[in-house]
Symmetry: C2
C-alpha cells in the first residue's frame, strides 16, 4: 500500500529497498492469507521484475530476522509468512493446513521459576482445529462435499 512506509521500515532495519525485496514485503502487506514461500515467489514473478527462488528465500529470511515478517511453521507443510501488522494469534487448520488470524488478547507469561535462566523473547498462542470451510465440509453429506473447496 504505502510504498514510502515500506522503504522506511526496510531502511530502518538496515536492509536496502531492492525491487525484489520490496515486492515480497508489499505482497505480504496486501495479503493476509499467510502464503508459503513458493506462493510468494510465484505471485511476485507474475508481475514484472523477475526474481529467483533463492532471492525470495533470502529476502524472507532477512525480513524475518529484521522482525518485519513472521514465519509460521506448520507440521508436514511448507512454512507460512505473515507481515507483522496488528498483533494477533494464529489458527492452524488440522485438515487443510491453512493459517488464519485470531484477534489478539494478552497471554499470561510463565512463572519465572519455570523459565530458569532462559531468555524469553515472545509468547505465541496457536489454536488448532478445523477452519470454517473444513468444519462445514465435515457436516455435509458426502455427495455435497465437492462443492466446498478444500483450499
Amino acid at each position: 500500500m504505502d510504498a514510502e512506509a515500506i522503504k522506511r521500515s526496510l531502511g530502518g532495519s538496515g536492509l536496502r529497498c531492492t525491487p525484489q525485496r520490496y515486492a515480497v514485503m508489499a505482497f505480504l502487506m496486501e495479503h493476509n492469507s499467510h502464503p508459503t514461500a513458493a506462493q510468494i515467489f510465484e505471485a511476485v514473478n507474475r508481475v514484472d521484475p523477475r526474481s529467483s527462488r533463492a532471492t525470495t528465500y533470502n529476502n524472507l529470511r532477512d525480513l524475518v530476522q529484521a522482525g518485519l515478517v513472521r514465519e509460521v511453521a506448520v507440521e508436514g507443510r511448507a512454512a507460512r509468512f505473515d507481515a507483522k501488522g496488528m498483533r494477533h494469534h494464529h489458527f492452524i487448520c488440522d485438515r487443510c493446513g491453512n493459517v488464519e488470524d485470531i484477534e489478539w488478547y494478552d497471554v499470561p507469561r510463565p512463572a519465572s521459576r519455570s523459565l530458569g535462566k532462559r531468555m524469553l523473547r515472545e509468547c505465541e498462542l496457536i489454536f488448532r482445529g478445523l477452519c470454517t470451510k473444513c468444519a462445514l465440509r465435515d457436516t455435509l453429506p458426502v455427495k455435497c462435499r465437492r462443492h466446498v473447496g478444500t483450499r
Copy 2:
C-alpha cells in the same frame, strides 16, 4: 518403562504392538529431549530389531494421530516429537532449535466471536527465546564459547 502400559495404550488406539512401534513409543517415553524422527530412527536401530526409515515415520504418524505423541514443528528444522505425558507448554530456542518443556498452566480461550464457525480442538502456548545454554553462551567472552556445547 512400563511395557504393559505401552501395550495397553497402543491397543486402546487400535494399533498393534509391533516391535518397531513399541520401540518408538518406549524411546519417546524414556527421553524428554524432543528428538527428531531421524534421531529416533537412529536410536531405535542402535538396539536390536532393525527398523526402516519409512516405518519410523509411519509409526510416528500413527502415534500422533492416535493422540499418544505430539509433533512440534520448528521453523527451518526437522519436526520434534514428544510422548504426551503430563501436560506442558514448549519453549523453542531461537538459536539452536531445541525444544524444552515448560510447566503447564491454563491458557485462556479466545472469545467465541473471534472463532466464528471454526472448530477449536486445542490451544498451544509456545515460548521463544534463548535456552539456558545459548543464553549463557551469549554472555561469555568469545574465547570461552567453545566450552559451551551448541548440540
